[in-house]
Symmetry: C2
Subunit: 135 residues, 2 copies
Amino acid sequence: MEIDFGKSDGLVPAVIQDDATGEVLMLGFMNAASYRETRRTGEVVFFSRSRNRLWKKGESSGHVLKVREVRVDCDADALLVRVNPVGPGVCHEGYRSCFFRSLDESGTPRMLAEQSFAPEAVYPGRPSGQARKDD
Amino acid sequence: MEIDFGKSDGLVPAVIQDDATGEVLMLGFMNAASYRETRRTGEVVFFSRSRNRLWKKGESSGHVLKVREVRVDCDADALLVRVNPVGPGVCHEGYRSCFFRSLDESGTPRMLAEQSFAPEAVYPGRPSGQARKDD
């Protein structure tokens, strides 16, 4: 079965879900090469749209995502990757999940979680608040 | 807080998660107008890339997605919509979730679920196997 990389400039969205808890941790994009690297290594490799290159999740932080299962949707243009996350959190802002805020109808954010680590300790070359999602 | 619709032709991916079970049900895209309609109506409205128009999930099937919470990721370019799904399943192929198959390293699919409804009964104008994801 072939993944359909043709609909969005060679990219498909990849939802990252904690295999143990069901928590949705983040969303990234994969192209064919990053998908191959993900399968070859057993750890999630995205394609960074801002840097235009493969981006191994955890390459700076060590917070890699160990692949437990890859699911594909009905028309094969989206992936659901169930993982065991290594480390205290996936988010470059210091949270377990990148989805740490809700938005109400008026657009007001509400915090849903507390930080699980200090990002400036994990991304030492980046001053507080200056780490990037794809660091 | 503003959602960043600027990175992908005005669209952001929206992960749909069952609020009761944590199951990831599907992934669609929203533009600003479909997001506004989602918030205004309390039911998920996507933007269909293939039809180039707003696509209310369940407009044919009745299987609407009632919004329980909208989460936004750290850089505001992806949404996680927690829903109560109405009906036996969200997938136009007759499954509870669109992610009803896994892929092994060689690309071989494996079924993870059985059909929860007969799609030809829900999409009566569409012969078996001819319904579309955005019907």
